[in-house]
Symmetry: C2
Subunit: 397 residues, 2 copies
């Protein structure tokens, strides 16, 4: 086994909440030495989000493995000087403050680039570092709303709907990780670092696929469709007699033929209303009613067995408990249990990326607030216990 | 300006639909020379998905800039031999066939790694390359269902809901891009390529954040909450008198105070039912009813101006037309228009990642099927027009 991809790479993670911490965690999973620098006394805002386990927030636990935590008082000039000294020795700084905050701390891109031309500075924000809307408060839900994605989600009869996870935070994290690795790759040739600038709103609009073109070229506004496929039928979620929901996709002519076979309804194949994709879309409610009746009359086990037998793409809508027991996810090691000194053993998503020669790994539990302040200050600055006690007493760290 | 990050990197993109093509496009945006190798006569399945513009699918247009297209008959032994010869000279191969398909073509990881030890082979699939469920058909919706994410999305009174975009496809694309860049970085040290193996189901479960821990440690199943925040109130979507929807987050005590000021309702601040986050969660319907009444009595313009004035995080739920006109997105160049020889000028999401020294760029329009077959075969194999005509006549390309 070769060494980790990012072995020897030093990352300073000043970010809070989800997008920044997830990006830094990905780099940590790939072997970087990630120092999470948190606001003294308070820490990452996500430490205060319920639910908790042994005093640790589940958000914190889910997003911060493979990091060490130190604290600093970001308003202290002495701490700001320490930050610059650390940036001078680091490879990557990650931050997701409101634009201008790092500058106010004397740690803007110009300054850090001057101190350390090899540094990559990765900045995540709601709307980007510049522009007329850059200073608005930005959260995942705001980006889901402003990007148009919410308008495409939910039942057409109901309100626009947020997705049930902070997917724009995660997307932005992955754009940031991709760009950061790109910058590290580029540095191998140029010797120079650079500033990466990604935002929630832009990462959200990157997912609009056909919605922009439909609007500008066909003057056709895409609307939300509930669970109904936009371009073929029947493809929707149906309820079984056991009150589970099952997603089934059988919109193509080939799959529709299999579906009619499964339901023992050759008459539907002969029915003019359902004779092509176009016809089935025209009569989508009628064909869905036929399918819904079939699903509604059978228990989940029977429905799933028959769908499997017929070779129709489908999935039961899983609960979190189903996910934890999923044999494929277990086989792939994507449901992890990590030992934590305070929270005990907790369950968390796995490493997601499989690489044959240099796989990501879990080497550290998510840290408690300031768990490594003494260790890191000794390591980076050579400070002894007295010096660190003085800094703590002065409210610097 | 330095050269592109991936200048000189040769990528063979054999993938179809969304996740694989998006991953390859990201590498292309970063400067790689991406050859999209498509099934002769048919092409990427997404070429057949409506809507179309000048005969080109909007899906194709959205996911394939910065690529050249060639065709091959993947069942022809001669084409398979050509693929191996190309892999011998390439840096990255991307594929998202069902597991085993590349092996059946004589182009599995073992073979390609033997031919070209420096090659990175990036494989995207529904469920991963191995395991008891690896061979099931996998699509974005199937992963949304099986990961539990659907169970967390939608109104609690209604069915579990798909998000209005293929966000798991995009997440998987970004995990694949991150891992591929990691593998290229690692290759700089080791000289050796590796296999990257990511899946829709695993990428989806990576977004479960607190749902796994809540289940295993608190025996608490997370359920969908519609647009209501899980841990604070009021934070939801409200409808204005002009029939727009506006997301507003004012769940903390500080923001709630501002909200009551904005609504000129000091009485709510005195109301025992709303005196803390906990109390407001207990009486969430009552406090939301007060807010809904205020929003419902005012037009959108007034509501937005008052929210802005009060400093409350909020966003109007945008339509695609709003997004296209968003001044911040325009400033950031995230709404792009690309010229296409057949489709004309079309609107598409921008490059999303800003890098100060080596920014991504659009250098090529999304290709028509086989647009570059002659050019690429001449370039990679030195074949002349006669030889290419022979291959075409024999159904090899």
């Amino acid at each position: 086994m070769s060494k980790s991809i990012l072995a020897g790479i030093k990352v300073l993670d000043l970010s809070r909440f989800i997008a920044g911490p997830h990006c830094a965690m990905i780099l940590g999973d790939m072997g970087a030495d990630v120092i999470k620098i948190e606001k003294a006394g308070v820490g990452d805002d996500s430490r205060h989000l319920p639910p908790f386990q042994g005093g640790e927030s589940f958000y914190m636990l889910a997003l911060n493995r493979n990091k060490r935590s130190i604290t600093m008082n970001f308003r202290s000039p002495e701490a700001q000087e320490m930050l610059r000294e650390m940036a001078a020795k680091a490879d990557v700084v990650i931050e997701n403050f409101r634009p201008g905050t790092m500058e106010a701390m004397g740690c803007g891109w110009e300054v850090l680039h001057e101190i350390n031309p090899r540094l990559v500075m990765t900045r995540l924000s709601g709307f980007g570092q510049d522009g007329p809307g850059a200073m608005r408060p930005g959260f995942d839900g705001i980006a889901q709303a402003m990007s148009g994605l919410m308008s495409l989600t939910g039942d057409p009869e109901g309100p626009p709907m947020l997705a049930g996870t902070f997917y724009i935070d995660y997307m932005t994290a992955m754009y940031a990780a991709t760009a950061t690795l790109g910058a590290l790759l580029s540095r191998r040739d140029s010797g120079e670092g650079q500033m990466v600038d990604v935002s929630l709103l832009e990462s959200a609009t990157a997912l609009l696929t056909t919605a922009l073109g439909s609007q500008t070229h066909r003057n056709e506004t895409l609307h939300r469709m509930g669970n109904r496929d936009r371009y073929s039928a029947p493809a929707n979620v149906f309820r079984t007699a056991s009150d589970d929901h099952v997603l089934m996709l059988s919109g193509t002519n080939g799959l529709f033929k299999r579906l009619c076979g499964m339901m023992e309804r050759p008459d539907l194949l002969e029915d003019e209303r359902f004779s092509s994709v176009h016809q089935r879309m025209e009569n989508v409610e009628a064909i869905e009613a036929e399918v819904a009746a079939w699903f509604g009359a059978r228990d989940t086990e029977t429905v799933l067995a028959r769908l499997e037998e017929a070779g129709l793409p489908h999935a039961k809508v899983a609960t979190p408990a189903d996910v934890i027991d999923n044999p494929q996810l277990r086989h792939r090691n994507q449901i992890l249990e990590i030992e934590h000194p305070k929270a005990g053993r907790f369950t968390t998503p796995g490493l997601t990326m499989h690489l044959s020669q240099t796989p990501p790994s879990v080497r550290r539990h998510p840290p408690s607030l300031g768990e490594h302040t003494d260790e890191v200050l000794a390591e980076w600055f050579g400070y002894d216990a007295d010096r660190i006690a003085r800094l703590r007493g002065d409210g610097v760290v």
